[in-house]
Symmetry: C2
Subunit: 450 residues, 2 copies
């Protein structure tokens, strides 16, 4: 399908470029032209489905670089609890009962919520099973994604089988929409030898199924809490004095294809190591605050030259998949904590949620900005709303005032997946119905156990 | 108009009461019955306009206890700047050009945004002028409000005239919808003598125009930044060592009719004083973070037994009038900062935004909970949305997952002011149009000056 989006204000994320009364032409999923609407309406007069974006703002689709998509099933199941009690008494017992079907259904729901909030790419880590799974759900929803399988020392053989199946069946599949990753859970649940093995396995799978342009990346939780270094030391009797990232570097696993989620408890050493190795970060401020993990030193990482992208984390520690919320919280939180109101400008935060998200997933050759040659992943936002009035500056409104509900039309890989807030790929009523049923099934199973 | 809202889940804010398939009967603006829908549909079969709330959640309207409603005109005008540069180079020069008409128009816009986000009461502090003003705008919108006039040492005579006019014309007017307050700007801009005078004037106006049930209250910014104590000492050569609140207490101005906005930089003394005097707080976390003022010690104030309510602050330091955002940020921020994930439970935060808001405005006899005898200020929220699915717990979803755009119908003083997201009191398209014009007029005036 060829598209011409015209008449809107285009925030390209190529620097501070803002094209008023602009237009974007799309052919076969790829952006072929970006410019002023007047000329482009003539140039692409026929053969292009027209989308009138007058009064609207077009941005690159948002990139959520840390999710556990299936966990939307547990949204609001347990909150306001101490972390260990939350995990051990609430989350883990019910997660153990989740089937492949549940994982698939939860991911469908997250895909819907993501589209409706302008998120076009999701980096998700969960338990992969052949058949029904997160990758299948995202592909059906038409949402771009990196789908990983989370690995633990206690299930190495299962992990290896899952990773091989995942890479073979899903890497660079669904028209290039889905890529895969190798996901060691965390440095305290994956022993040093297994950590190294998973890096080697990632490289091996990448040689088999990946390419320079579409690599298989490595997605891991790092330094989520201040207790983590101690947990690693106790679990594996290793030296973590220099910091968790430095410890990982001593294993030789860090490079530019690593995305580390959270990074709350970092040393200065850690940040220097990250810069040298090119490790990318997914910053998840809402989840980190809600779980009382702490506040990631984002301004300091940026000073070190580290690429920091944004994520929601799972819908049961957030409890939303809303990147507009994450952007606003990121912009205000670090001002408040650092005492510097000029920290984290609106434009910088939007870059973290778009171009830097693409970089963090090694996908910046195709997504993250509105540029000829890139894939057409776009969110069209209706600015004709009382809370977006009056308009002085688009970047300011996008970060501080716009909301997920203002996203009107979403295009992924050149395909319209939501138009005027109606989904085209999935029936949200039906998905909500099966999600409620899945929830009830889980609660019944839990009760039967007791 | 008599109303019967039936079939929804009612979160009354009387403790943790949740009535499923409940109903609320309203006569002449007052709640006359609350119970199960089955019985009440029979009891109020005729003579009541029915609102079917199946699949929806009904809560008391949210109470925003700190606003400068007119400032929506400056939303996004200047952000990400050092505080003094922001005020002196950006906000103050353009504010000086604002006319009574501008103030009225900006307040209309804030009223609309508030209704659309489930906020039914606004406590606003701004420059009052007879004629066009904030009170008129709120009354026309049908929004409940406490409207103040902000006082400074440099304009005492003007302040006295404005306060007398405001109290006479607006206190307990518009069917009891509008009340007024006396608003010393802050302890560093109001000298000690004038501060005492304003307290005496508040009491005098209350004797003339107020009553025990509808008092004229005192609304002031206190301890917004850590520099404030020093600013007070330098301005007035007074002792502020014990804390800003203790200093105010030494002037004899603190009592249960004082609402103090911000309270970021408090001493332990201050908190003890607040408890003893019954001073209420408006906590504005988003504004405090965005302006890099710091983080108010809310859990500590709650431990001291101080009533803490919630506010957005002005739409140019937030940049929204969205109490759902403020509730979520309040709930997660203090967990993250205190390291305690059980701090600020969902239920507690909803109480801060409703019942404690009513207490902070000395209005709890009429609003803040769903209870027979109270005014019908209600927000009906559509829970049939992907991001509110599945449902385990209403309190959790209301704080962590629901958004202002999920509010479907709003009732204030028994009157439907928004139905299925259509406003009944104002034309939002028209208001947005005159706001854009007002903005352009202001920018032109500013340019003419230079």
């Amino acid at each position: 399908m060829n598209l011409l989006i015209h008449g809107g204000t285009i925030v390209t994320m190529r620097g501070d470029e803002v094209i008023r009364d602009g237009a974007i032409a799309v052919e076969d999923g790829t952006i072929i032209d970006v410019g002023k609407a007047g000329q482009m309406l003539k140039r692409y007069a026929s053969g292009y489905e027209k989308i009138n974006a007058k009064g609207k703002v077009v941005i690159p689709g948002l990139i959520n670089t840390h999710q556990h998509a299936a966990m939307s099933l547990l949204r609001g199941y347990a909150d306001d609890l101490p972390l260990l009690e939350w995990l051990e008494k609430w989350i883990w017992p019910i997660e153990r009962l989740m089937t492949a079907e549940d994982i698939y259904v939860g991911s469908l729901l997250t895909a819907i919520e993501s589209i409706m909030g302008g998120t076009t790419t999701i980096n998700t880590m969960y338990h992969y099973m052949p058949g029904e799974n997160e990758a299948k759900a995202l592909a059906e929803a038409g949402v771009r994604g990196v789908v990983g399988h989370v690995c633990f020392s206690w299930r190495k053989d299962d992990d290896r089988r899952a990773l091989e199946d995942l890479a073979k069946n899903w890497h660079n599949k669904a028209g290039g929409l889905i890529r895969v990753s190798v996901d060691p859970h965390a440095p305290y649940t994956v022993d040093p030898e297994y950590m190294k093995e998973l890096k080697a396995l990632c490289e091996e799978l990448d040689r088999k199924y990946g390419s320079e342009k579409a690599p298989i990346i490595w997605h891991i939780h790092v330094a989520e809490t201040f207790e983590e270094a101690d947990k690693i030391r106790k679990a594996f009797n290793v030296d973590v004095k220099g910091g968790v990232m430095e410890y990982l570097d001593s294993l030789g696993v860090l490079d530019g294809r690593v995305i580390a989620a959270h990074c709350v408890a970092l040393t200065d050493n850690d940040m220097a190591v990250m810069k040298v190795r090119g490790v990318k970060v997914s910053h998840n401020p809402i989840s980190n605050l809600k779980l009382a993990s702490g506040i990631s030193p984002v301004p300091k990482m940026l000073e070190h030259g580290v690429t920091v992208s944004l994520g929601t984390d799972s819908p049961c520690s957030n409890n939303a998949a809303d990147m507009f919320e994450v952007m606003k919280v990121t912009a205000v939180l670090h001002k408040g904590v650092s005492g510097n109101p000029t920290a984290m400008s609106a434009q910088q935060v939007l870059k973290m949620a778009t171009l830097d998200g693409a970089r963090a997933l090694c996908w910046e050759n195709e997504i993250g900005s509105i540029k000829v040659g890139k894939k057409a992943d776009l969110a069209i936002i209706n600015f004709d709303k009382p809370h977006l009035c009056p308009l002085y500056n688009e970047f300011s409104h996008l970060i501080y005032a716009a909301k997920s509900a203002d996203v009107e039309t979403v295009i992924i890989n050149g395909k319209i997946v939501m138009e005027d807030r109606r989904l085209t790929t999935l029936n949200s009523e039906k998905v909500m119905e099966i999600v409620e049923k899945a929830k009830n099934r889980l609660l019944e199973k839990l009760q039967t156990q007791h």
